[in-house]
């Protein structure tokens, strides 16, 4: 069974219908991008850091199986339990079993795109377990009943009025109150209460160190730490690509992560978990869910280097103007448009086309993933696999026929210059010409480029010929 294909242009059009809001979204993310630039420029070695990070990731991927085994040994030695999940379903089953073994009914969870990818929350809720997302942005979208629209800034699509309304309905804030300070204070009380009553804490993992068996979790709110330092059970879910070889490699990645994400020099909390806390239990779930397959692809392997900073989203002119939901994928934006089709090309075929190939994502990526090249490669792949919609397929085919035949191109050009300017408007600007929806054709020249070229260059040459 296939899910319906995601129609990015259509979803983006819905987003841009509210023009002031779309402009606000664009400007807000550009502001974050700007903060990232300032942070990057504060370090003369920024480019060296990016190159070093990319090289560490490439090395890790080339030895991933060995490093995973090394990590498992080290983590086990520290008293952690390591579980392996081939896919999202198995991950969810493992988490549920652990929770049931500990009779945990109330769970607090810090930000984890992996658990979003596995749809852990609805699964646990079906089994009667309360899951509270504790990152404020994630809690907001959880109350709104939607997924996050951005991997670092989950509620970036919402205005404070929206948050005020949600909090009024769910947390009893004063009707019409929109002061972020007041709203965050109420959320603090609400979430601290949830922390106090939680039976278990689930976290994502930013980095795992093969050499030491340690996990590094980065937050600004301290929600991951509160979530796992109170209850006895800590479950950490991580994709197998989160591994790095040595502790000292963290120096490179922690310098890049927050600066790229929000322009901060480092997140407020960068916690290093080595084994469970005294009297507690630490379970680490290593999840594949398509990653090992992606590792085998020469074209798309480097997308596994991603450290989920979100910089490519903040800079992307398409993401900023179409919103995270237009991608209908856990990870949206440029990196999401590479990862999602790898999972399901039929469903996500429109995403690699939601890109102007401007290359800005590639310029800001802290681990130097060649994002726009991979997006272009995906387009060819999608065409080859036959996922292109008819309009694009026929258009491309006609284009190929015409462009491969100079005589035909010349002939059609001559006809177009003569006929199109005389056509009634409705024949040019209609449903068959989506290009013309918000654009006007330029005035048609009387002469083609080829005619002009011949007129200007052939003449003098004929003159010189005559002189010789």
């Amino acid at each position: 069974m296939h899910d319906a294909a995601v129609d990015h242009p259509k979803l983006a059009a819905e987003f841009t219908r509210d023009k002031p809001r779309a402009h606000w979204h664009d400007a807000t993310l550009w502001f974050v991008r700007h903060k990232r630039d300032k942070a990057a420029q504060s370090l003369p070695e920024w480019e060296t850091l990016r190159e070093t990070a990319g090289a560490i990731k490439a090395h890790t991927m080339a030895h991933l199986a060995d490093y995973l085994e090394q990590f498992e040994r080290a983590a086990t030695r520290l008293g952690a339990h390591v579980h392996w999940a081939a896919d999202g379903e198995e991950h969810n089953r493992i988490v549920l079993e652990l929770l049931e073994q500990h009779a945990a009914r109330r769970v607090v969870k810090s930000k984890s795109m992996l658990t979003e990818e596995c749809h852990l929350n609805p699964f646990l809720e079906e089994h009667g377990i309360e899951v509270i997302d504790t990152d404020l942005g994630e809690r907001i979208v959880q109350l709104a009943g939607t997924p996050p629209s951005h991997i670092v800034l989950p509620a970036i699509h919402l205005k404070k009025e929206d948050v005020g309304q949600l909090f009024h309905e769910h947390l009893g804030t004063t009707a019409g109150a929109t002061d972020p300070k007041y709203l965050a204070e109420v959320a603090r009380g609400h979430l601290r209460d949830k922390f106090m009553r939680a039976d278990a804490g689930i976290t994502g993992v930013n980095f795992a160190v093969a050499e030491t068996g340690g996990l590094i979790v980065c937050t600004n709110e301290g929600n991951a730490d509160l979530g796992v330092s109170l209850p006895k059970l800590h479950i950490a879910s991580m994709g197998i690509e989160k591994l790095i070889p040595r502790a000292k490699d963290l120096g490179v990645f922690l310098r890049l992560l927050a600066r790229s994400a929000t322009g901060q020099p480092i997140t407020t909390y960068s916690s290093h978990f080595h084994g469970p806390r005294p009297g507690g239990e630490l379970h680490i779930v290593l999840v594949d869910n398509g990653r090992s397959e992606l590792l085998g692809s020469d074209d798309f392997r480097r997308s596994l280097h991603c450290i989920r900073c979100g910089a490519c989203m903040n800079t992307c002119p398409v993401y900023r103007r179409s919103g995270g939901f237009s991608y209908r994928s856990t990870v949206p934006g440029p990196i999401g448009s590479i990862l999602a089709p790898a999972r399901d090309p039929a469903k996500y075929h429109s995403l690699p086309f939601a890109c102007s190939l401007c290359g800005s994502c590639t310029d800001v990526c802290p681990v130097k993933i060649d994002l726009h090249h991979q997006l272009l490669t995906w387009r060819g792949e999608i065409a080859r696999e036959g996922h292109l919609p008819a309009t694009k397929r026929i258009g491309m085919k006609l284009g190929r026929i015409v462009l491969a035949r100079p005589w035909l191109y010349k002939l059609l050009g001559a006809w177009a210059r003569r006929i199109v300017p005389r056509l009634p408007r409705i024949l040019v600007y209609n449903r068959l010409n989506p290009w013309g929806r918000q654009r006007e054709l330029p005035p048609f020249p009387r002469e083609s480029f080829r005619d002009q070229y011949h007129r200007r260059h052939d003449k003098p040459r004929q003159d010189t010929d005559r002189h010789s």
Binding site: G214, P265, Y269
Partner: protein, 206 residues
Amino acid sequence: MTSRDKILTAIRKARLPAADLPPLERDWITYPDPLEQFGEVLRQIGGAMVRVADRAELAHRLEELPVYRDARQALSLVEGAGRTTIDWHGIDDPHALETVDFAILPGQFGVAENGAVWVTDRGVRQRAIYFIVQHLALAISSASILHNMHQAYERLELGGAEFGAFIAGPSKTADIEQSLVVGAHGPRSMTVFCVDSAEPTPRFGV
């Protein structure tokens, strides 16, 4: 075949081109005055640095700190600095720390480039205290400030069963319309006392 074997086999099948680990010994950034840089960055990220000559001045300056003065429940694990009003050693359940207003705890060292302080749970039995307390103060030696994160990891010896964290400023969020709010779920303030006197780090009070 277990999932573990399945995953490892699939990875090994991929046969990737060899890639060497890059060198990490580079010309990383250093600052003319790391202590000043540390204080400036910490201020920018919402924290505060207080430089003191010795333990006596630390105790004195602590008394001047409103969040300490106003604290009903306080904890000090730094010898000779501040009062402890809770039965720290008797607390077996970290949930009991929810009501602590102020804690001053030892940090290991600071990092100039990002205003972070390294803390561990060595001698701090309930690590929850770093995150649950309303106002956090850390005491480090002024001479302990390192220039950058590479130096930090050179100094750290990770791998033992120990919890450690870089803490840089108070708990904060910008999740509501990108407006910065200090005091998300954790500490509402973070004060770092940098002590000039000879001892490398203030001793534990435990």
